[in-house]
């Protein structure tokens, strides 16, 4: 089966773009990507990774519209699997390329979350809850996360300060990332005194919801080497699903297991909440109840993660893959971690599905 490469990546700064619509942002990411390739690319498949377009911009047929805007004819696919859409899109492209039936796939993650006040964003994100009961009775995902935190605090005897370490580290890294939405450092005191969202969850524990677009070009090895010398290999992908569960994220455990025994030099994980970062790290084998105590020793989220780089819904996973690719190539313009193997863990808001993507220089 053909080897699969990531031949080019691009990102725009995550921000509130009042002047641009969803397709504007997606197109900007593609234009930036094309500037990096030697050849005029006509991808066989175009995948649009997006979670909330029906509610945020009242649009469907995203991939077809993007193809038409770009003047190309390809197999258009829109992929939505909550905030794990990016992981789902890259995994899908991986298998299409492995089949040998296609040579290239353009994957564009774009999301528009910056136009709305917090209450409407809560409404949008509550689409992640179940239809029969949770969404109907007005719940929000923040309440689930707060309860998850309190159970963790009880089980391991830690205080809120334990979780506050995560946003401090993320903002330290994110302050170096030119693509980051909240590009500033914060201290422990600022985090601890920030707005209470759902006791004990504070605003800095949540993801910074904003607009973003990132594009990647995935190809087989033969075509990829013609396009650019700066590529990384997609070595393997893994995936799993599970219900929301207190004290663990079984989907992440499952997705790591399908990947086999992997030692990555760096990783980007989906820290929708600080507690999710702790639980994901613990599924990877870092000590339970202590994973956030030694963040200086864990090569995780040099982008600044969802806290500082920001959270553009279904584009998030595409950012993660772009970031790890650029890290492995030594061209990421922010905080650098060197290494040959990088891991992306793309999950949805509460961790009910997870994709693991292993990249290698």
């Amino acid at each position: 089966m053909p080897n699969v490469l990531i031949s080019a990546t691009s990102m725009i700064k995550i921000d509130r773009y009042y002047e641009y619509d969803l397709m504007d942002l997606a197109t900007q990411a593609v234009v930036k990507l094309l500037e990096k390739t030697n050849e005029n690319i006509k991808p066989d498949v175009v995948i649009f990774s997006n979670t909330y377009a029906e509610k945020t911009v009242s649009q469907v047929s995203l991939a077809s519209k993007l193809c038409n805007n770009l003047g190309i004819s390809a197999m258009p696919i829109r992929i939505e699997n909550g905030d794990a859409s990016g992981g789902a899109a890259v995994s899908t492209a991986y298998y299409l390329l492995k089949s040998g039936e296609i040579k290239s796939a353009l994957i564009v993650g774009a999301e528009k979350m910056g136009d709305f006040p917090a209450s409407y964003l809560n409404e949008i994100v509550s689409e992640n809850l179940n239809e029969k009961y949770q969404e109907k009775v007005g719940l929000t995902t923040q309440s689930f996360s707060a309860i998850q935190m309190k159970e963790y605090m009880k089980k391991y005897g830690v205080t809120y300060d334990y979780f506050a370490q995560w946003p401090v580290y993320m903002h330290k890294y994110g302050s170096e990332n030119p693509y980051a939405y909240l590009k500033f450092p914060v201290d422990l005191k600022t985090v601890k005194e920030s707005q209470l969202v759902s006791d004990p969850l504070r605003i800095f524990d949540t993801a910074a919801r904003a607009d973003g677009a990132s594009a990647i070009l995935m190809t087989n090895e033969e075509l990829g080497k013609k396009i650019s010398e700066n590529y990384v290999k997609v070595k393997a992908v893994g995936f799993s699903t599970s219900e929301f569960r207190i004290g663990e994220i079984p989907s992440v455990h499952g997705a790591l297991k399908t990947l086999g025994d992997v030692k990555a030099d760096l990783m980007e994980i989906h820290d929708s909440f600080s507690i999710n970062a702790a639980l994901i790290l613990e599924e990877m084998g870092y000590p339970r109840g202590k994973s956030l105590d030694n963040l200086n020793e864990i090569p995780v989220n040099p982008s600044g993660g969802l806290k500082s780089r920001g959270y553009p819904g279904g584009a998030t996973g595409i950012y993660q893959v772009s970031e790890i690719t650029q890290q492995l190539l030594g061209v990421f313009p922010g905080h650098r971690i060197s290494g040959n193997k990088g891991l992306v863990i793309s999950t949805d808001e509460l961790g009910t599905s997870a994709y693991t993507i292993l990249l290698e220089r």
Binding site: S119, Y133, K136, I246
Partner: protein
Amino acid sequence: MNVFPPQVWREKETLYRLIGGKCNCGNVIFPYSPVCNKCGSTSVSKIKLSGKGILLQYTVTYQHRPGFEKTQPTYVGLIKLQEGPEIIAPLTDVDEGELKEGDKVEAVIRRIKSDSNNGLIVYGTKFRLIKDGDK
């Protein structure tokens, strides 16, 4: 218009009557599903849950969704229902500082939200504390 009657009406067994499923394997599911989420069996029968349970954990939420302004802040609990399932559900009739882990709770029907244009009201199940002196 933000309330569409069929969308609420079709969930009446879940929202008003707390109908769950019981699998032959013993697993109890809420909301009801014809397939067991533990063993995958389709031998799941409908049962009416008692609505009684224990509050395992709770939070006070200060952010809300449009249409829920009147119930701010919102108390939300992790509840272990008598029949087994653990659910996350809104709490009601709560005074500040009175919740504690291990409290007994029971299901009650409450107004969830109303449509700002035509006044349609959505009702659903929330949970309240069973206080000393209550039956």
